[in-house]
Amino acid sequence: MSLRQLAETDLGLILEDGSTGFGWPITITDPSGNTNTDELLGFSDDIAQIIDPDTGQAVSGRLASVAIRITRLTEVGLTLPRGIADSGSKPWVVEFNDINGNPYTFKVAQSNPDRALGLVTCLLELYA
């Protein structure tokens, strides 16, 4: 096994260990309404951040993202998520709970796949 393949295998151990690691259950729905067919674990982030909309005065904001192993996406029947700009289409929807069990729903605003390592990071927007 090459070092690169070993890194991809390790990625699975790092991202998808839900018992002793940081793996966290995530539900993804594609624009056609297909949801992951099996449990999907990955990293999820939801943190507060200060933003400046260029007025020079700060606004409290939140930054949310998920990181998922690409091979696992294929295994659960999904393709690579991406941001959908067309308002006539449904977006990719990502759902996960925070650490206290509160559910949140997001849409994928931007997808940053790392095809060398097999990792996709999705930047999320709140979705109501």
Partner: protein
């Protein structure tokens, strides 16, 4: 030494507060008019603040009120010596920034598709700009309700800032600025006048010597 306590607001403060008061009053009035017209008054709602620089916590996603936020703040002023006098009055041209913040989140469209949050935020901030400019430039506020102080008001420019792409946020916020120029008078403390001499005038009719006008003047130093 200046003999009196300077216990007043300068007119740039008065004008700033007046702009915020006009916006707050008229927004409430517009909401009432919208209700009367059978429309949703929340579409006319703006939350007006003055000289605030704390982070806008109210734009976090937990909030239920998504109406735009408007912050009125004094930016700068220039004095025009040609139209002033050196002792009492300074003609001032001030710029007051009316910053608007629109908030949007993406939402599902029942009939298909979705409403993108970035567009939602942009439309919200455009609405805030539209209301603010229309209110302040209405004929009722030609002198901002401060005739004698305000010479002229004018919307100098509108700038809508590009949303940041770095560190993309989960909620969309677009900022915009209406730079509002107001020309007004500033006044400064004066030397208390001292009576130097009393001037008395009698105007008499030549024919019969009848006094038709009699007046006393306290002649004071200029």
């Amino acid at each position: 030494m200046i003999a009196e306590l300077i216990d007043k607001q300068d007119n740039f403060e008065v004008v700033r507060d007046q702009i915020a008061a006009i916006l707050a009053t008229e927004v409430a009035s517009q909401m009432a008019l919208a209700t009367t017209a059978g429309k949703d008054p929340d579409d006319w709602k703006l939350r007006i603040f003055s000289e605030r620089s704390n982070p806008w916590e109210q734009l976090l996603n937990e909030q239920t009120d998504r109406s735009p936020i408007v912050n009125v703040w004094f930016d700068n002023s220039n004095f025009d010596p040609a139209a002033s006098n050196i002792s009492e009055r300074q003609k001032t041209e001030g710029v007051f920034n009316i910053d608007c913040y629109g908030y949007g989140i993406s939402s599902d469209e029942m009939g298909g598709g979705h409403n993108p949050g970035d567009k939602e935020a942009a439309l919200e901030v455009h609405k805030a700009l539209r209301l603010a400019r229309n209110i302040l430039m209405a004929a009722e506020y030609t002198y901002l309700g401060l005739r004698g102080v305000v010479w002229q008001r004018w919307p100098q420019s509108i700038t809508v800032f590009q949303p940041q792409l770095d560190g993309r946020q989960m909620q969309q916020i677009v900022g915009a600025r209406l730079a509002f120029r107001v020309v007004f008078n500033e006044f400064s403390p004066q030397v208390p006048a001292e009576t130097l001499e009393l001037v008395s005038v009698d105007v008499m009719r030549t024919e019969d010597g009848e006094i038709v006008v009699e007046a006393d003047y306290d002649y004071t130093a200029p």
